[in-house]
Symmetry: C2
């Protein structure tokens, strides 16, 4: 698989511009004081479908030839990517099929259906997911748009950081959540545009620390049972994503679920924003690993806001 | 008491500009579809202190002479106005005293203290509040900054609508919550700047419908026991506020607490915004009184976002 480049992120930005929001960047004096740093929050929770995932899905769907597109797109997703692909497909007028594991967040599954995709439920195991996806692909002849291990999805995800870097010049570091690694690898590509690339830090739950361990070992951890409230970050980092993270020297910092809950509360109180647990990891990371960020201008991608109303 | 004018709103806008945020205006395709109207949400929940109240407080505090200011400011408030006055006073380096009734929202009282004001707790009755306020005024020689029945507070509150009308040309109608009437009367003044003033609709809880009844009767209702989750809208409309509402032909539409809860949920799901119950009344009103708003370009002021984290 060819690794995507900074130029692919630029191409993605042009391709998805008619469909995606340029999301706002928010600040908070009190959070700056708490972190001892200058925090710039890129609000992808305000992206269409409520998550950055819409960027990668659009880039993939609108890169297809008409003949490919006509057979539709297929994916497996616990939620945001599925809804994003559903809306991207509907925007192009083509079918979408989403394989969803049992136990996914209800509102996310409802969104997938609301955007007109066909939902295929399966057991919450890797084997069941792969078998179901293979069956749907064979039946439809559609194109698989993987949630993260896909060059077009990665390049699309990187466009959020591209916007942030343009809107806030002089950022010292970017912080994004790490799950399968689509956002973090796309962000690293976006940040590689200048002679001195902006460093990228991935925030990962302690209960799903495979990216952290994989980087430490120098090879992908392939066995791990995730245990975290961050429902968007339970996947293992993909091969292409891992390769990009290593090439671009991404660091990963861990956060606990308690720290994530506290960060969600802070986003509520200080930013008045609804963020899902996965998105709150970035604020949790900046507060926990203070020595890494203190005194810096930090760009944080709030990756999504799809969480059940209490 | 001299009634404030549109020019006073303009003067307030200039005075408070260095201190207040120009808050963003947000939209949602799905809420537009739900309402059958074009909705523009002015996000005063993202104002400093988390509410539009900071505008009026700043206008009052920074209008004082140095000699007046030195004696400090005094108010009574169940929350947002108290916190706003505390921060405005701190910004000018003068003392603030806030009389708070028992049972006020905890996070709001905590904010008042965090901004350095002296909190004076009293029983949750009008008599206790007035007695305590009078005592603090006598003791300090400070200036009373009433939460709503004050020309400077009204003019300051009107600056939110001024910004909204400038940012979104061609609005057909503005919708704002009605409690004591500071925001609605200030908004009516802001909307009166052109030859054909933009109509203003007040959204009021069914459980505290004194503005609605007062307009119907042609005189202020002075007896009413509020029963609503909208903690910012329990006050009776002030005399000056009522006078301005009548002069500017403000209409008032009622909403139930259930409709307010549903609107809070919609703001959460579709706007990813935390809004307090009082703020959600505007969306509730547009959805309930569909015939009044359908097909229109509607400006809605989300007045605040100070609500306990669940």
């Amino acid at each position: 698989m060819t690794l995507p480049s900074h130029d692919d992120v630029l191409a993605a930005a042009a391709r998805i511009a008619p469909l995606c929001q340029v999301t706002p960047v928010r600040r908070s004096r009190s959070l700056d004081a708490l972190a001892g740093a200058e925090l710039h929050f890129k609000c992808e929770n305000l992206q269409r479908v409520g998550a950055f995932k819409f960027r990668g899905a659009c880039n993939a769907v609108f890169s297809l030839s008409d003949a490919e597109a006509a057979r539709g797109v297929v994916t497996h997703s616990s939620g945001n990517h599925g809804a994003a692909l559903a809306l991207a497909a509907r925007s192009r007028g083509i079918p979408a099929h989403v394989v969803v594991p049992a136990g996914a967040v209800r509102s996310k599954v409802a969104a997938i259906r609301a955007f007109g995709a066909t939902v295929h439920e399966c057991e919450a195991t890797l084997a069941a997911r792969e078998a179901t996806t293979a069956r749907v692909l064979a039946h439809t002849g559609g194109r698989l748009v993987h949630p993260y291990a896909d060059p077009l999805v990665i390049a699309g995800a990187g466009t959020a950081a591209l916007e942030l870097l343009r809107e806030v010049p002089g950022l010292d570091v970017l912080v994004v959540p790490v799950g399968g690694g689509g956002l973090v690898s796309g962000t690293a590509l976006a940040a590689a545009g200048s002679a001195t690339p902006v460093p990228v830090v991935g925030a990962e739950p302690e209960g799903a620390p495979d990216a952290h361990e994989s980087l430490a070992r120098g090879e992908r951890v392939l066995q791990l049972t995730p245990d975290t409230i961050c429902d968007g970050l339970r996947a293992l980092v993909g091969p292409i994503n891992f390769q990009l993270m290593r090439a671009r020297r991404v660091e990963v910092r861990l956060v606990s679920d308690d720290e994530v809950r506290a960060a969600m509360r802070l986003a509520w109180e200080r930013l008045k924003l609804v963020v899902e647990p996965s998105a709150a990891t970035v604020l949790a990371a900046v507060l926990r690993h203070r020595e890494r960020f203190e005194g810096r201008r930090v760009g944080l991608v709030l990756s999504g806001g799809n969480v059940e109303f209490p």
